[in-house]
């Protein structure tokens, strides 16, 4: 109802009282996720993509894979970067402009989950050590913000990576006609909780996010 990040006392009390009784606004159990729908390959222009619908939260992840120089301190690893756009489309609270702390935090948290799992086999994406590696861009586009952007983004990004197809390179590092998937290792699954009163709930919806005392993420 409001554009400020606000919930009315009446709505907040309702959620707190429900939680005391072991219930949630949408009837879920404390340990249940909203319905998750994943649509990989939805953006043909991208090497990989996935639209994640988690309840009404919608996140579109796009993977673009290019070639470039590795970072000087990791000559034997591919380059991977994650960016998140909390675009004004998705919520009356999001403003346009350069990434602010929320979108930077979201990008870095999703990135860490993927990088440290490790999800991507970074060494095997090296073309010529110290000179040429694959560069993987993970771009998260939030389309509709209804709570728990972290998990929706994680699902979208990981699924997009797992369904990405890149050209096979010949000995000179030139692309051939053949395609191959990205070399994947582990599959990081993030899990976000909110503390409501004395209770811990998984996958908080928008109203639960506004009511929460604390917010956790776990990979």
């Amino acid at each position: 109802m409001t554009e400020v990040d606000l919930i009315s006392h009446i709505e907040r009390d309702y959620i707190l009282n429900l939680a005391k009784k072991g219930e949630r606004e949408d009837g879920r159990g404390f340990d249940k996720y909203r319905k998750l729908i994943l649509q990989p390959g939805i953006i043909k222009k991208a090497e990989g993509s996935c639209l994640a619908n988690l309840g009404e939260t919608k996140v579109l992840a796009g993977i673009k894979v290019d070639k470039g120089e590795p970072f000087p301190d990791t000559p034997d690893q591919a380059v991977m970067t994650t960016n998140a756009e909390l675009i004004p489309l998705a919520s009356p609270l999001f403003e346009s402009g350069p990434p602010k702390e929320d979108s930077i935090e979201l990008a870095r948290v999703v990135d860490r989950g993927i990088r440290e799992a490790p999800a991507l086999d970074m060494p095997s994406l090296v073309i010529k050590e110290g000179e040429l590696v694959r560069v993987v861009f993970i771009d998260l586009h939030i389309l509709d913000s209804d709570g728990n952007l972290f998990d929706a983004s994680n699902r979208a990004a990981v699924t997009a990576l797992r369904t990405t197809k890149i050209p096979v390179l010949d000995e000179e590092g030139n692309p051939t006609e053949d395609l191959m998937p990205l070399p994947m290792l582990k599959t990081p699954v993030s899990c976000t909780f909110a503390k409501i009163g004395e209770n811990i709930l998984v996958d908080p919806s928008q109203n639960e996010v506004k009511t929460k005392k604390k917010y956790w993420m776990q990979d």
């Binding site: 043909k44 991208a46 796009g62 673009k64 771009d139």
Partner: protein, 236 residues
Amino acid sequence: MELIKNGIRIDGRKKDELRDIKIEVGVLKRADGSAYVEWGMNKVYVAVYGPRELFPRFLRRSDKAVLQCKYNMASFSVDERKRPGPDRRSVEISKVTRGALEPVVLTENFPESVINVNIEVVQAEAGTRCAGITAASVALADAGIPMKDLVPACAVGKVSGEIILDLCKEEDNFGESDLPIAMIPRTGGISLLQMDGLMTGEELEEALNLAKKGCEIIYEKQKEALRKRYKGDDHD
């Protein structure tokens, strides 16, 4: 490259054929009004917020609402990844989009406020500004913002000397001329007219007539999409 042979274009269409267009209304929960358009390979989301309070205050107008349009392309929407954030092209398209929609939005009803139109292109293949304007009209209507009319938009152009409707990517890149046009069917007026390349006076007239036909078809799709959203069962 032969862009057109015996009246058949590179993607199999005839000169006056539109690409496949699908319009959905009310696809985003948080927005006051929203629409999603698939137009050929283009995929465009539009969200409308407002009318709502405008900050900074000095932008407010005492006689009407301010219409703000923002066109943006996702990094992964094009072949070569695009750096996030507005570039000069996006800024220009945002401005002409506002110009295309402003004549129909009854902004006098909401002085001192702002109506935000956010256009997000998640996949692009020629004609995104027309897809954006087409979707934005529908999203504005979905938000309940009073309008004189909806605004259909499409591009016409010239390839191999022939006037064609709704350019695809190759036609846009290698053709002789490209004209995106937005129309206001109720008055027959034109609210967006841009041109690249060269055309003679007669060619331009032929192009405008073809655009009008294209816009009429798109207009019907816009109306149908809006009606479909609200066709519940009738319990009479």
